[in-house]
């Protein structure tokens, strides 16, 4: 691997942090909803879309990011937000609906917004893609040297917003990288049942821009492809479309019976868990020993616990604060 060690370590640490965050959110999500699952109950009410297994798509871009780069993510946003460095305490607090959250409890887990780092996400499929185009327009007009990254799922690639965004970005040669997180299922519908061609990356040719397929759920592969695409955008050579084959280890939302995926599919997916695979590889290649990885886990787990403690110790907003922030 011709990658600086610091980048490999950073990606591993971030993957551990993401996975631990998702695990802890999952535990706390279910803790007060059982035995009878009630989606509105507990410390974290509402839908919860967790990204365990999709860490590589998020951490691979991380070493190439500059301050001020914009990211728009999806309804399953935690891994990308954490990888960009969104304040973990405020993010946890938002998920728990607290006054100290990113949006003071107005948005919740699908609507996380941060000014620095420059992050936003949305509960509507494909909604963030035109926003990334506009961010790139702003960066170009202002000459900031920044780029925009737009994350979306393979299900979103059949939305008009996908095609409109690619066309505009290509037409105006904007500094955007479009990243398709292909986890093979749009809730229950497999890609083969929704998409006329096997790989969305091939759709880039319709807009005359590079389309690159990353066939493995591997942070190193993502690192290399994203590095090239982000450099290209930053140079002023225009947008790229990247498709990464990834795995959603858990259901679409917590509480999803996940009966639409076969036992065999789920078994295979768990066997190729990217965090386990990356950890092994780092040991094999002498980058991080098992002991060093254990130390990283201890540190990252503590970081996640601190964020959750911060959230749980934070007050709820006053009910009438619901009226604030409709207008600036």
């Amino acid at each position: 691997m011709d990658i600086p060690k610091a980048h490999l370590v950073d990606m591993y640490e971030t993957m551990v942090r993401i996975r631990r965050f998702e695990e802890r959110i999952r535990e706390l999500y279910f803790a007060d909803k059982l035995p009878a699952f009630d989606i509105a109950a507990g410390l974290i009410p509402g839908e919860m879309h967790l990204a365990a297994g999709q860490e590589p798509v998020a951490v691979g871009m991380r070493p190439h990011l500059h301050p001020g780069d914009a990211i728009t993510a999806t309804h399953r946003p935690h891994h990308v937000a954490i990888a960009q460095g969104v304040d973990l305490n405020k993010m946890a607090a938002e998920i728990f609906g607290r006054e100290t959250g990113l949006g003071q409890g107005k948005g919740g887990h699908m609507h996380l917004f941060s000014v620095e780092p420059n992050f936003g996400c949305s509960g509507i499929i494909g909604e963030g893609m035109p926003v990334a185009v506009g961010a790139a327009m702003a960066f170009k007009a202002r000459g900031t040297g920044n780029i925009a990254l737009s994350y979306f799922g393979e299900g979103a690639a059949n939305q008009g917003a996908f095609h409109e965004s690619l066309n505009l970005a290509a037409l105006w040669k904007l500094p955007v990288v479009f990243i398709c997180e292909d986890n093979a299922y749009a809730i229950s519908v497999p890609k083969a049942s929704s998409t006329a061609i096997p790989d969305n990356s091939d759709r880039a040719s319709a807009y005359g821009i590079p389309g690159v397929l990353v066939p493995e759920n591997d942070p190193v592969a993502v690192y290399e492809v994203m590095g090239a695409a982000m450099d290209r955008a930053r140079r002023g050579d225009g947008p790229s479309l990247i498709e990464i084959k990834t795995d959603r280890l858990w259901g679409h939302f917590e509480g999803d019976a996940d009966a639409y995926r076969s036992d065999e599919f789920k078994e295979d997916m768990n066997v190729r868990d990217p965090l386990v695979a990356f950890g092994k590889r780092l040991v094999e290649e002498g980058v991080l020993s098992e002991a060093e990885q254990a130390a990283i886990k201890e540190k990252e787990y503590a970081t996640v616990e601190a964020a959750i403690d911060f959230a749980l110790a934070s007050p709820y907003p006053a009910p009438e604060a619901a009226l604030n922030h409709v207008f600036a």
């Binding site: 914009a70 728009t72 959250g101 990113l102 949006g103 003071q104 409890g105 107005k106 948005g107 609507h111 917004f113 941060s114 000014v115 420059n118 936003g120 949305s122 509507i124 909604e127 893609m129 035109p130 926003v131 990334a132 185009v133 506009g134 961010a135 790139a136 327009m137 702003a138 960066f139 007009a141 202002r142 925009a148 008009g160 917003a161 409109e164 965004s165 066309n167 505009l168 037409l171 604030n324 922030h325 409709v326 207008f327 600036a328």
Partner: protein
């Protein structure tokens, strides 16, 4: 306020002048939309801007409203002040997600941390047989959704001042101009569409109604082209000895409820003229405001002259019958004051 002027402009030219003056002083302001550049806007709202500011700041877009209105959101939260045009408001159906789920809600979701200073300009209104997909006003629909300011100018003076206020506003502003109020040479002739406009830059505050005509017997609350119809109706009513006061709301959001209540307390009667569909819209909101704020003052039940709850029909007699008209306003007021 600004100096008096003898210079007269159409509302269309006043809008374009307002945009041009803001572009001159604020490099973050840019314009994009379909046919806003070379053509100058189908309704002239961006006339002359391409020549002045070039294609980097006056951007002709593809027919791709989700794409470019969403892009306006992204630009607005990243340091720009986009003015983005939805050619006809009727076209909102192809891009509404970006307007009401995104543009209107990001500030709220972010707990006030992120601002979305975008102006969404759009042409509204009927009266020239353009049928049901190019003639609606729909301001009530947008006003219903939290997070959007909704501005509807009716005079050239207000159009310029409200445009400059909209551009400077840190919130998303829907700026809806009525095609029949713009003073376009190829539209129905409308003397009210031309008026004095100072050359210098000035603002008209968003959220303050204007008394377009003072009167004592009845209050007519309205907006957009219907202000002009109400003025014509008031002149006819005056000849019959009925004095009508006309409140031009100028914006639906914020709604100047105090102006409505104050006028009704003075005249004791209320007619709402609304070119939008009658039910669940502006007319009901204005009447509720008056009933809650001036119930004891009312001498008659409030009345409304609006577009009935039907699609706007094409054929001239059908459309003329459907939209609010001077005749319908005169008849409604006459019945109210004689009752």
């Amino acid at each position: 306020m600004t100096t008096m002027t003898d210079r007269k402009l159409t509302m269309q030219k006043a809008i374009a002048e307002g945009i041009a003056q803001e572009m001159a002083v604020d490099p973050s302001v840019f314009v994009m939309g379909e046919d806003v550049g070379v053509y100058g806007g189908i309704f002239g709202a961006t006339e002359g801007l391409l020549d002045k500011y070039g294609p980097e700041r006056v951007i002709d877009t593809p027919i791709s409203e989700t794409g470019f209105i969403g892009a306006a959101v992204g630009a607005a939260i990243n340091g720009m002040r986009p003015i983005v045009e939805l050619m006809f408001v009727d076209f909102f159906g192809v891009c509404m997600d970006q307007i009401y789920n995104n543009m209107a809600k990001i500030h709220y979701f972010s707990g006030g941390n992120i601002k979305v200073p975008a102006v969404l300009t759009t042409a509204v209104g009927g009266g020239y047989s353009d049928a049901g997909q190019h003639s609606q006003t729909l301001w009530g629909l947008f006003a219903h959704l939290p997070g959007l300011k909704v501005v509807v100018p009716s005079s050239a003076y207000d159009a310029k001042g409200l445009m400059i206020s909209a551009i400077r506003d840190d919130n998303p502003v829907m700026y809806m101009f009525h095609k029949g109020a713009l003073g376009l040479g190829w539209m129905v002739n409308n003397p009210h569409a031309t008026g004095p406009v100072p050359e210098e830059s000035y603002t008209v505050p968003i959220g303050k109604a204007r008394v377009a005509r003072e009167g004592t017997d009845v209050t007519i609350v309205t907006v957009g082209l219907s202000v002009h119809k109400a003025l014509d109706a008031a002149a006819l009513l005056e000849a019959d000895g009925v004095s009508a006061e006309i409140i031009d709301l100028r914006s639906l959001v914020p709604l100047d409820r105090e102006a409505i209540v104050a006028s009704v307390q003075k005249t004791h009667r209320l007619l709402v003229v609304d070119e939008d569909y009658q039910s669940f819209g502006m007319s009901g909101e204005v009447i509720t405001t008056a009933v809650q704020g001036a119930f004891d003052y009312l001498d008659a039940p409030p009345v409304r002259v609006a577009t009935p709850d039907i699609p706007i029909p094409y054929s001239h007699p059908l459309e003329t019958w459907t939209l609010p008209s001077v005749d319908r306003i005169v008849a409604a007021v006459t019945e109210m004051v004689s009752g």
